[in-house]
Subunit: 203 residues, 2 copies
């Protein structure tokens, strides 16, 4: 029987992707589900529907609620949380690195994603600065310079662009989004358990 | 010790308010939490942020997802669900009746709210038609004509308008929204359990 798999679509600027990224590994493993990282850029998708920044900036009441909601979620999970001074931060370079790592199925890709989310939402670091991404790679004891160079080739840039276009074709409108092998879509950190259960049962 | 209470803010056009309305009574009772009905109109609040109809109409990909998501939620709860042919439907008259019933703390108010949601999202009936609201009241064996007359006085209309303005002041931007006595806000059917737990602990 093939191993059930779940596609995890995420954007590094997304608040709710932080608890999802921190939880998905252990939950999926416990259910025998393989997680496939699908980093993408939410910006072009939001722009296509007329939004030039995060909805949490455009709609301040919703934004105020979301920060408090994520704070509560993290407290419940005993996850450190610190509201970043700058929001949203561009996750472009981080997404290129994550794309490269996941495409090559490297052992560091998942650790890298978690580390970026922690830097942004727990440690008050600026993930839109290349020094931070380099430092994260160095902390993971991988070849930071090689990876950064490969992440910024036209090939990787184009592939991340194509993955974002694919997200849009799939009907993805936010992050995190989970998609099972039979095409069932789940949106939001609070749908993670449901997505894993669906992936397991559908396989 | 006073009984902990939870304000349940809902709009009859709201899809996710349907499962919330069907679940809240039993869950709150099991936790010793009193539910206070707070019907309001989401339309004026959405218009104030530039939306002239449901976001599920304005953003079709999000809308497509939401219908599927609610269908799954209802299946999980063994709640009948049928996507209405007309959406969104004006819940104005129903909200006036619900306001009247909840203000007067009548025994039929909660049954009325559940019946309206079932009519709309389970039975394919048109809640934007006064005949449907009358029929629902008749099915509840209350004095439909008296209630409909009282619901359409200027006094009731003004009070519902004031309640909607109050919702906006509280920062409510969607439905269902739950607010505890210490002012903690929870948005969405999937936050109902968290809201009840918070209400219980905070009291």
């Amino acid at each position: 029987m093939p191993v059930p798999a779940l596609d995890f679509w995420f954007e590094f600027a997304s608040i709710y992707s932080y608890p999802a990224a921190m939880r998905i590994g252990a939950l999926a493993t416990a259910s025998g589900v393989a997680v496939r990282l699908r980093p993408f850029l939410l910006g072009p998708i939001l722009r296509a529907q007329g939004w030039d920044t995060s909805p949490f900036v455009l709609y301040p009441q919703k934004g105020r609620y979301a920060w408090r909601d994520v704070e509560r979620i993290c407290a419940e999970l005993s996850l450190p949380f610190r509201r970043p001074e700058a929001f949203p931060q561009s996750g472009l370079l981080a997404a290129r690195v994550a794309f490269l790592g996941s495409e090559q199925q490297t052992p560091w890709a998942k650790d890298f994603c978690r580390a970026v989310y922690c830097a942004e939402f727990a440690e008050g670091r600026r993930i839109d600065r290349s020094e931070t991404i380099r430092d994260i790679l160095l902390e993971l004891k991988v070849d930071a310079e090689d990876i950064l160079a490969a992440a910024q080739t036209n090939e990787t840039k184009d592939k991340l662009r194509a993955q974002t276009a694919h997200a849009e074709q799939l009907g993805i409108f936010g992050a995190p989004t989970f998609i099972t092998q039979d095409g069932e879509m789940f949106w939001g950190n609070d749908r993670l358990e449901g997505a894993i259960a669906w992936a397991k049962q559908a396989s």
